[in-house]
Symmetry: C2
Subunit: 235 residues, 2 copies
Protein backbone atom coordinates (compact mmCIF):
# COMPACT_ATOMS: atom_id res chain seq x y z
CA UNK A 1 0.00 0.00 0.00
CA UNK A 2 1.57 3.20 -1.16
CA UNK A 3 1.41 6.18 1.16
CA UNK A 4 -0.31 9.15 -0.33
CA UNK A 5 1.41 12.47 0.28
CA UNK A 6 -1.39 13.28 2.69
CA UNK A 7 -0.76 10.22 4.80
CA UNK A 8 2.95 11.01 4.81
CA UNK A 9 2.36 14.58 5.95
CA UNK A 10 -0.08 13.49 8.62
CA UNK A 11 2.36 10.93 9.98
CA UNK A 12 5.13 13.50 10.10
CA UNK A 13 2.93 15.92 12.00
CA UNK A 14 1.95 13.19 14.46
CA UNK A 15 5.62 12.44 15.08
CA UNK A 16 6.33 16.13 15.58
CA UNK A 17 3.53 16.36 18.10
CA UNK A 18 4.74 13.39 20.15
CA UNK A 19 8.30 14.70 20.03
CA UNK A 20 7.29 18.14 21.26
CA UNK A 21 5.02 16.50 23.81
CA UNK A 22 7.99 14.52 25.11
CA UNK A 23 10.02 17.68 25.46
CA UNK A 24 7.25 19.47 27.33
CA UNK A 25 6.75 16.43 29.53
CA UNK A 26 10.41 16.52 30.49
CA UNK A 27 10.23 20.22 31.25
CA UNK A 28 6.88 20.63 32.96
CA UNK A 29 5.72 17.16 33.98
CA UNK A 30 2.60 15.27 33.03
CA UNK A 31 0.17 17.64 34.71
CA UNK A 32 1.82 20.62 33.04
CA UNK A 33 1.42 19.18 29.58
CA UNK A 34 -0.42 21.81 27.58
CA UNK A 35 -1.88 21.27 24.14
CA UNK A 36 -1.67 24.98 23.46
CA UNK A 37 2.01 25.06 24.27
CA UNK A 38 2.59 22.07 21.99
CA UNK A 39 0.73 23.92 19.26
CA UNK A 40 2.88 27.00 19.81
CA UNK A 41 6.06 24.98 19.51
CA UNK A 42 4.68 23.33 16.42
CA UNK A 43 4.14 26.79 14.95
CA UNK A 44 0.42 26.32 14.64
CA UNK A 45 -2.71 27.57 16.34
CA UNK A 46 -4.08 25.45 19.16
CA UNK A 47 -7.24 24.28 17.45
CA UNK A 48 -5.23 22.82 14.61
CA UNK A 49 -3.65 20.27 16.93
CA UNK A 50 -7.10 18.90 17.68
CA UNK A 51 -7.24 17.67 14.09
CA UNK A 52 -4.51 15.22 14.99
CA UNK A 53 -4.98 14.55 18.68
CA UNK A 54 -8.53 14.36 19.95
CA UNK A 55 -7.80 15.60 23.43
CA UNK A 56 -5.13 16.19 26.00
CA UNK A 57 -5.74 12.69 27.37
CA UNK A 58 -5.16 11.21 23.94
CA UNK A 59 -1.81 12.96 23.76
CA UNK A 60 -1.03 11.59 27.20
CA UNK A 61 -1.85 8.07 26.06
CA UNK A 62 0.41 8.57 23.06
CA UNK A 63 3.24 9.55 25.39
CA UNK A 64 2.56 6.70 27.80
CA UNK A 65 2.76 4.12 25.02
CA UNK A 66 5.82 5.88 23.65
CA UNK A 67 7.46 5.78 27.08
CA UNK A 68 6.72 2.13 27.73
CA UNK A 69 8.19 1.26 24.36
CA UNK A 70 11.29 3.37 24.94
CA UNK A 71 11.90 1.64 28.26
CA UNK A 72 11.17 -1.74 26.72
CA UNK A 73 13.61 -1.03 23.90
CA UNK A 74 16.28 0.03 26.39
CA UNK A 75 15.82 -3.16 28.38
CA UNK A 76 15.84 -5.31 25.25
CA UNK A 77 19.01 -3.63 24.04
CA UNK A 78 20.69 -4.25 27.38
CA UNK A 79 19.59 -7.88 27.40
CA UNK A 80 20.93 -8.41 23.89
CA UNK A 81 24.46 -7.73 25.15
CA UNK A 82 24.34 -10.58 27.65
CA UNK A 83 25.02 -14.24 26.78
CA UNK A 84 21.81 -16.18 26.41
CA UNK A 85 22.31 -18.57 29.30
CA UNK A 86 23.75 -16.19 31.89
CA UNK A 87 20.52 -15.57 33.74
CA UNK A 88 22.14 -13.79 36.67
CA UNK A 89 23.78 -11.30 34.35
CA UNK A 90 20.54 -10.90 32.42
CA UNK A 91 18.63 -10.01 35.55
CA UNK A 92 21.24 -7.46 36.54
CA UNK A 93 21.32 -5.99 33.05
CA UNK A 94 17.54 -5.60 33.14
CA UNK A 95 17.67 -3.87 36.49
CA UNK A 96 20.46 -1.55 35.44
CA UNK A 97 18.68 -0.67 32.22
CA UNK A 98 15.54 0.32 34.10
CA UNK A 99 17.53 2.44 36.54
CA UNK A 100 19.60 4.17 33.87
CA UNK A 101 16.57 4.88 31.74
CA UNK A 102 14.60 6.22 34.69
CA UNK A 103 17.42 8.51 35.77
CA UNK A 104 17.92 9.73 32.21
CA UNK A 105 14.21 10.38 31.65
CA UNK A 106 12.71 11.14 35.03
CA UNK A 107 9.59 12.80 33.64
CA UNK A 108 8.72 9.91 31.34
CA UNK A 109 9.55 7.46 34.11
CA UNK A 110 7.27 9.37 36.44
CA UNK A 111 4.49 9.30 33.89
CA UNK A 112 4.72 5.52 33.74
CA UNK A 113 5.44 4.57 37.34
CA UNK A 114 4.61 7.61 39.45
CA UNK A 115 1.32 8.75 40.85
CA UNK A 116 -1.44 8.49 38.27
CA UNK A 117 -2.28 11.70 36.45
CA UNK A 118 -5.53 12.94 38.03
CA UNK A 119 -8.53 12.64 35.79
CA UNK A 120 -6.68 10.49 33.32
CA UNK A 121 -7.31 6.79 32.89
CA UNK A 122 -4.91 5.04 30.58
CA UNK A 123 -6.93 2.99 28.08
CA UNK A 124 -5.94 -0.59 28.82
CA UNK A 125 -6.27 -1.81 25.24
CA UNK A 126 -3.46 0.50 24.14
CA UNK A 127 -1.18 0.54 27.17
CA UNK A 128 -1.14 -2.98 28.59
CA UNK A 129 0.86 -4.57 25.80
CA UNK A 130 3.79 -2.13 25.89
CA UNK A 131 3.34 -1.74 29.64
CA UNK A 132 4.08 -5.39 30.34
CA UNK A 133 7.23 -5.70 28.25
CA UNK A 134 9.68 -5.30 31.13
CA UNK A 135 7.91 -7.60 33.56
CA UNK A 136 7.54 -10.04 30.69
CA UNK A 137 11.30 -10.09 30.25
CA UNK A 138 11.75 -10.57 33.96
CA UNK A 139 9.54 -13.65 34.11
CA UNK A 140 11.27 -14.94 30.98
CA UNK A 141 14.58 -14.73 32.81
CA UNK A 142 13.32 -16.38 35.96
CA UNK A 143 11.45 -19.08 34.07
CA UNK A 144 14.44 -19.68 31.86
CA UNK A 145 16.78 -19.98 34.82
CA UNK A 146 14.36 -22.35 36.49
CA UNK A 147 14.14 -24.46 33.35
CA UNK A 148 17.93 -24.57 33.10
CA UNK A 149 18.02 -25.66 36.75
CA UNK A 150 20.55 -23.01 37.72
CA UNK A 151 18.46 -21.57 40.54
CA UNK A 152 19.42 -22.16 44.11
CA UNK A 153 16.47 -23.50 46.08
CA UNK A 154 14.13 -20.90 47.54
CA UNK A 155 12.45 -21.71 50.80
CA UNK A 156 8.80 -21.24 50.17
CA UNK A 157 7.80 -19.74 53.47
CA UNK A 158 4.80 -21.00 55.35
CA UNK A 159 2.13 -19.36 53.23
CA UNK A 160 1.50 -22.11 50.74
CA UNK A 161 -2.26 -22.11 50.99
CA UNK A 162 -5.19 -19.90 50.24
CA UNK A 163 -6.45 -17.90 47.32
CA UNK A 164 -3.00 -16.49 46.61
CA UNK A 165 -1.83 -19.87 45.34
CA UNK A 166 -4.85 -20.07 43.06
CA UNK A 167 -4.11 -16.65 41.61
CA UNK A 168 -0.48 -17.53 41.06
CA UNK A 169 -1.43 -20.86 39.50
CA UNK A 170 -3.77 -19.07 37.13
CA UNK A 171 -1.06 -16.62 36.06
CA UNK A 172 1.40 -19.46 35.71
CA UNK A 173 -0.96 -21.39 33.49
CA UNK A 174 -1.88 -18.33 31.45
CA UNK A 175 1.74 -17.51 30.72
CA UNK A 176 2.74 -21.13 30.27
CA UNK A 177 5.38 -21.02 32.99
CA UNK A 178 7.16 -23.90 34.67
CA UNK A 179 8.25 -22.13 37.87
CA UNK A 180 6.60 -23.08 41.15
CA UNK A 181 4.11 -20.67 42.66
CA UNK A 182 6.38 -19.64 45.53
CA UNK A 183 9.08 -18.61 43.09
CA UNK A 184 6.55 -16.69 41.02
CA UNK A 185 5.52 -14.78 44.13
CA UNK A 186 9.17 -13.98 44.75
CA UNK A 187 9.42 -12.78 41.19
CA UNK A 188 6.56 -10.38 41.72
CA UNK A 189 8.29 -9.03 44.81
CA UNK A 190 11.56 -8.62 42.95
CA UNK A 191 9.67 -6.76 40.23
CA UNK A 192 8.04 -4.41 42.71
CA UNK A 193 11.24 -4.00 44.72
CA UNK A 194 13.27 -3.16 41.63
CA UNK A 195 10.94 -0.36 40.69
CA UNK A 196 10.71 0.71 44.31
CA UNK A 197 14.45 1.22 44.43
CA UNK A 198 14.47 3.08 41.12
CA UNK A 199 11.50 5.17 42.26
CA UNK A 200 13.33 6.32 45.37
CA UNK A 201 16.31 7.35 43.34
CA UNK A 202 14.45 9.01 40.49
CA UNK A 203 11.95 10.78 42.72
CA UNK A 204 14.62 11.88 45.17
CA UNK A 205 13.13 10.07 48.13
CA UNK A 206 16.52 9.20 49.54
CA UNK A 207 16.76 12.91 50.04
CA UNK A 208 18.92 13.85 52.96
CA UNK A 209 20.64 10.46 53.14
CA UNK A 210 23.04 11.29 50.37
CA UNK A 211 24.75 8.27 48.97
CA UNK A 212 27.93 9.27 47.25
CA UNK A 213 27.65 6.43 44.79
CA UNK A 214 24.01 5.47 44.28
CA UNK A 215 25.00 3.02 41.55
CA UNK A 216 27.01 0.99 44.05
CA UNK A 217 24.06 0.83 46.40
CA UNK A 218 21.87 -0.26 43.50
CA UNK A 219 24.30 -3.05 42.57
CA UNK A 220 24.16 -4.17 46.15
CA UNK A 221 20.38 -4.23 45.91
CA UNK A 222 20.48 -6.15 42.64
CA UNK A 223 22.59 -8.83 44.32
CA UNK A 224 20.11 -9.18 47.14
CA UNK A 225 17.15 -9.27 44.77
CA UNK A 226 18.84 -11.87 42.60
CA UNK A 227 19.35 -13.98 45.69
CA UNK A 228 15.66 -13.62 46.48
CA UNK A 229 14.73 -15.71 43.45
CA UNK A 230 17.77 -17.95 43.73
CA UNK A 231 19.74 -16.45 40.85
CA UNK A 232 23.48 -17.00 41.26
CA UNK A 233 25.52 -14.13 42.67
CA UNK A 234 27.88 -12.12 40.54
CA UNK A 235 31.64 -12.53 40.59
Amino acid sequence: MAQTPRERARLRTMEDITRIGREHLALHGAAGLSLRAVARDLGVVSSAVYRYVGSRDELLTLLVVDGYNALGDAVDAALAEVPEQDYGAKFRALGRAVRVWGLAEPARYGLLFGSPVPGYNAPAEQTTAPGTRVVGRLVEIIDGAFGAAVLEPVQAGSRSTGSLMEDLSAIKAQLGLAVPEALLARGVLVWAALFGAVNFEVFGQYGAATFGDPAALFECHLDALAGLVGLPGSG
Copy 2:
Protein backbone atom coordinates in the same frame (compact mmCIF):
# COMPACT_ATOMS: atom_id res chain seq x y z
CA MET B 1 0.81 32.61 76.27
CA ALA B 2 -2.92 33.02 75.94
CA GLN B 3 -4.37 32.87 72.47
CA THR B 4 -6.05 36.01 71.37
CA PRO B 5 -9.42 35.53 69.65
CA ARG B 6 -7.75 36.53 66.42
CA GLU B 7 -5.12 33.86 66.75
CA ARG B 8 -7.82 31.32 67.49
CA ALA B 9 -9.81 32.35 64.43
CA ARG B 10 -6.71 32.26 62.27
CA LEU B 11 -5.82 28.78 63.48
CA ARG B 12 -9.31 27.55 62.79
CA THR B 13 -9.25 28.96 59.29
CA MET B 14 -5.86 27.35 58.65
CA GLU B 15 -7.26 24.00 59.79
CA ASP B 16 -10.28 24.46 57.55
CA ILE B 17 -8.02 25.23 54.60
CA THR B 18 -5.86 22.12 55.10
CA ARG B 19 -8.96 19.98 55.62
CA ILE B 20 -10.58 21.23 52.42
CA GLY B 21 -7.22 20.92 50.68
CA ARG B 22 -7.04 17.28 51.77
CA GLU B 23 -10.51 16.63 50.38
CA HIS B 24 -9.68 18.26 47.06
CA LEU B 25 -6.41 16.36 46.94
CA ALA B 26 -8.29 13.09 47.34
CA LEU B 27 -10.78 14.04 44.63
CA HIS B 28 -8.62 15.73 42.00
CA GLY B 29 -5.02 14.84 42.79
CA ALA B 30 -2.10 17.10 43.56
CA ALA B 31 -1.97 18.75 40.17
CA GLY B 32 -5.67 19.46 40.31
CA LEU B 33 -5.40 21.23 43.63
CA SER B 34 -6.87 24.67 43.07
CA LEU B 35 -6.70 27.53 45.52
CA ARG B 36 -9.79 29.02 43.97
CA ALA B 37 -11.75 25.84 44.54
CA VAL B 38 -10.57 25.69 48.13
CA ALA B 39 -11.71 29.28 48.54
CA ARG B 40 -15.11 28.42 47.09
CA ASP B 41 -15.56 25.54 49.52
CA LEU B 42 -14.44 27.79 52.33
CA GLY B 43 -17.16 30.22 51.31
CA VAL B 44 -14.73 32.99 50.61
CA VAL B 45 -13.30 34.78 47.63
CA SER B 46 -10.02 33.48 46.25
CA SER B 47 -7.86 36.41 47.21
CA ALA B 48 -8.84 36.02 50.85
CA VAL B 49 -7.14 32.64 51.01
CA TYR B 50 -3.87 34.31 50.11
CA ARG B 51 -3.99 35.99 53.53
CA TYR B 52 -3.45 32.55 55.04
CA VAL B 53 -1.50 30.63 52.44
CA GLY B 54 1.09 32.52 50.47
CA SER B 55 0.88 30.41 47.36
CA ARG B 56 -0.32 27.14 45.95
CA ASP B 57 3.08 25.64 46.68
CA GLU B 58 2.78 26.65 50.30
CA LEU B 59 -0.56 24.85 50.53
CA LEU B 60 1.08 21.84 48.94
CA THR B 61 3.85 21.90 51.55
CA LEU B 62 1.20 22.10 54.26
CA LEU B 63 -0.46 18.99 52.85
CA VAL B 64 2.85 17.15 52.42
CA VAL B 65 3.80 17.68 56.06
CA ASP B 66 0.25 16.78 57.08
CA GLY B 67 0.46 13.59 55.03
CA TYR B 68 3.83 12.51 56.38
CA ASN B 69 2.57 12.99 59.90
CA ALA B 70 -0.65 11.10 59.24
CA LEU B 71 1.33 8.16 57.88
CA GLY B 72 3.81 8.40 60.74
CA ASP B 73 0.97 8.41 63.25
CA ALA B 74 -0.62 5.38 61.59
CA VAL B 75 2.67 3.49 61.73
CA ASP B 76 3.29 4.48 65.33
CA ALA B 77 -0.21 3.39 66.30
CA ALA B 78 0.32 0.04 64.62
CA LEU B 79 3.68 -0.44 66.33
CA ALA B 80 2.20 0.36 69.72
CA GLU B 81 0.02 -2.73 69.46
CA VAL B 82 3.00 -5.06 69.14
CA PRO B 83 5.06 -6.35 72.07
CA GLU B 84 8.29 -4.44 72.43
CA GLN B 85 10.69 -7.28 71.74
CA ASP B 86 8.86 -9.00 68.86
CA TYR B 87 10.87 -7.40 66.09
CA GLY B 88 9.51 -9.63 63.35
CA ALA B 89 5.96 -8.69 64.24
CA LYS B 90 6.95 -5.04 64.48
CA PHE B 91 8.38 -5.07 60.99
CA ARG B 92 5.26 -6.67 59.61
CA ALA B 93 3.02 -4.25 61.47
CA LEU B 94 4.97 -1.35 60.01
CA GLY B 95 4.65 -2.72 56.51
CA ARG B 96 0.96 -3.41 56.87
CA ALA B 97 0.33 0.04 58.28
CA VAL B 98 2.02 1.67 55.31
CA ARG B 99 0.04 -0.44 52.87
CA VAL B 100 -3.31 0.10 54.56
CA TRP B 101 -2.73 3.84 54.86
CA GLY B 102 -1.67 4.10 51.24
CA LEU B 103 -4.69 2.19 49.98
CA ALA B 104 -7.01 4.25 52.18
CA GLU B 105 -5.50 7.57 51.09
CA PRO B 106 -4.14 7.04 47.59
CA ALA B 107 -4.00 10.74 46.74
CA ARG B 108 -2.04 11.69 49.85
CA TYR B 109 0.18 8.66 49.39
CA GLY B 110 0.79 9.69 45.81
CA LEU B 111 1.67 13.20 46.92
CA LEU B 112 4.33 11.78 49.23
CA PHE B 113 5.75 8.89 47.23
CA GLY B 114 4.62 9.38 43.66
CA SER B 115 6.12 11.45 40.91
CA PRO B 116 7.11 14.87 42.15
CA VAL B 117 4.63 17.63 41.44
CA PRO B 118 6.11 19.58 38.51
CA GLY B 119 7.40 22.99 39.45
CA TYR B 120 7.15 22.24 43.14
CA ASN B 121 10.15 21.68 45.37
CA ALA B 122 9.36 20.58 48.88
CA PRO B 123 11.30 22.78 51.30
CA ALA B 124 13.62 20.38 53.08
CA GLU B 125 13.60 22.24 56.39
CA GLN B 126 9.89 21.56 56.82
CA THR B 127 9.47 18.16 55.21
CA THR B 128 12.53 16.09 56.14
CA ALA B 129 11.67 15.64 59.80
CA PRO B 130 8.16 14.23 59.27
CA GLY B 131 9.30 12.57 56.04
CA THR B 132 11.81 10.36 57.81
CA ARG B 133 9.56 9.10 60.58
CA VAL B 134 8.72 5.78 58.91
CA VAL B 135 12.22 4.93 57.80
CA GLY B 136 13.38 5.96 61.25
CA ARG B 137 11.08 3.40 62.80
CA LEU B 138 12.34 0.79 60.37
CA VAL B 139 15.99 1.26 61.30
CA GLU B 140 14.97 1.29 64.96
CA ILE B 141 13.42 -2.13 64.48
CA ILE B 142 16.38 -3.55 62.61
CA ASP B 143 18.90 -2.04 64.98
CA GLY B 144 16.91 -3.24 67.96
CA ALA B 145 16.68 -6.76 66.58
CA PHE B 146 20.41 -6.73 65.89
CA GLY B 147 21.12 -5.53 69.41
CA ALA B 148 18.93 -8.26 70.84
CA ALA B 149 20.82 -10.77 68.71
CA VAL B 150 17.67 -12.28 67.26
CA LEU B 151 18.69 -11.81 63.63
CA GLU B 152 19.71 -14.73 61.54
CA PRO B 153 23.05 -14.09 59.90
CA VAL B 154 22.92 -12.25 56.58
CA GLN B 155 25.53 -13.11 54.00
CA ALA B 156 27.13 -9.88 53.07
CA GLY B 157 27.61 -10.40 49.37
CA SER B 158 30.88 -9.66 47.70
CA ARG B 159 30.53 -5.91 47.57
CA SER B 160 32.21 -5.01 50.83
CA THR B 161 34.49 -2.37 49.44
CA GLY B 162 34.32 1.04 47.85
CA SER B 163 32.64 4.33 48.61
CA LEU B 164 29.35 2.64 49.43
CA MET B 165 30.81 1.30 52.66
CA GLU B 166 31.99 4.76 53.59
CA ASP B 167 28.56 6.23 53.01
CA LEU B 168 26.91 3.50 55.05
CA SER B 169 29.47 3.92 57.82
CA ALA B 170 28.75 7.64 57.90
CA ILE B 171 25.01 7.07 58.18
CA LYS B 172 25.57 4.44 60.80
CA ALA B 173 27.70 6.78 62.87
CA GLN B 174 25.31 9.68 62.41
CA LEU B 175 22.35 7.68 63.66
CA GLY B 176 24.35 5.90 66.34
CA LEU B 177 23.56 2.44 65.03
CA ALA B 178 25.21 -0.85 65.91
CA VAL B 179 24.25 -2.84 62.81
CA PRO B 180 26.97 -3.78 60.33
CA GLU B 181 27.09 -1.93 57.03
CA ALA B 182 25.89 -4.90 54.98
CA LEU B 183 22.77 -5.18 57.09
CA LEU B 184 22.17 -1.45 56.80
CA ALA B 185 22.32 -1.77 53.03
CA ARG B 186 19.78 -4.57 53.25
CA GLY B 187 17.63 -2.34 55.37
CA VAL B 188 17.66 0.36 52.71
CA LEU B 189 16.61 -2.21 50.13
CA VAL B 190 13.80 -3.46 52.34
CA TRP B 191 12.66 0.13 52.78
CA ALA B 192 12.63 0.77 49.06
CA ALA B 193 11.08 -2.60 48.29
CA LEU B 194 8.30 -2.10 50.81
CA PHE B 195 7.28 1.16 49.22
CA GLY B 196 7.74 -0.34 45.78
CA ALA B 197 5.22 -3.03 46.57
CA VAL B 198 2.78 -0.52 48.05
CA ASN B 199 3.33 1.77 45.08
CA PHE B 200 2.35 -0.93 42.63
CA GLU B 201 -0.81 -1.67 44.52
CA VAL B 202 -1.85 1.92 45.19
CA PHE B 203 -1.01 3.15 41.70
CA GLY B 204 -2.64 0.15 40.04
CA GLN B 205 0.52 -1.01 38.35
CA TYR B 206 -0.38 -4.65 38.82
CA GLY B 207 -3.16 -3.82 36.41
CA ALA B 208 -4.16 -6.75 34.30
CA ALA B 209 -2.60 -9.32 36.63
CA THR B 210 -5.50 -9.25 39.04
CA PHE B 211 -4.67 -10.82 42.35
CA GLY B 212 -7.83 -11.90 44.07
CA ASP B 213 -6.31 -11.27 47.47
CA PRO B 214 -3.62 -8.60 47.28
CA ALA B 215 -3.21 -8.64 51.05
CA ALA B 216 -2.10 -12.27 50.92
CA LEU B 217 0.48 -11.43 48.29
CA PHE B 218 1.67 -8.56 50.44
CA GLU B 219 2.04 -10.82 53.47
CA CYS B 220 4.09 -13.14 51.32
CA HIS B 221 6.28 -10.18 50.36
CA LEU B 222 6.63 -9.10 53.97
CA ASP B 223 7.91 -12.56 54.85
CA ALA B 224 10.50 -12.42 52.12
CA LEU B 225 11.57 -8.91 53.06
CA ALA B 226 11.85 -9.85 56.71
CA GLY B 227 14.09 -12.71 55.69
CA LEU B 228 16.23 -10.27 53.74
CA VAL B 229 17.38 -8.61 56.95
CA GLY B 230 17.37 -11.83 58.94
CA LEU B 231 14.22 -11.17 60.92
CA PRO B 232 12.58 -14.37 62.07
CA GLY B 233 9.68 -15.71 60.01
CA SER B 234 6.13 -15.61 61.24
CA GLY B 235 4.29 -18.66 62.57
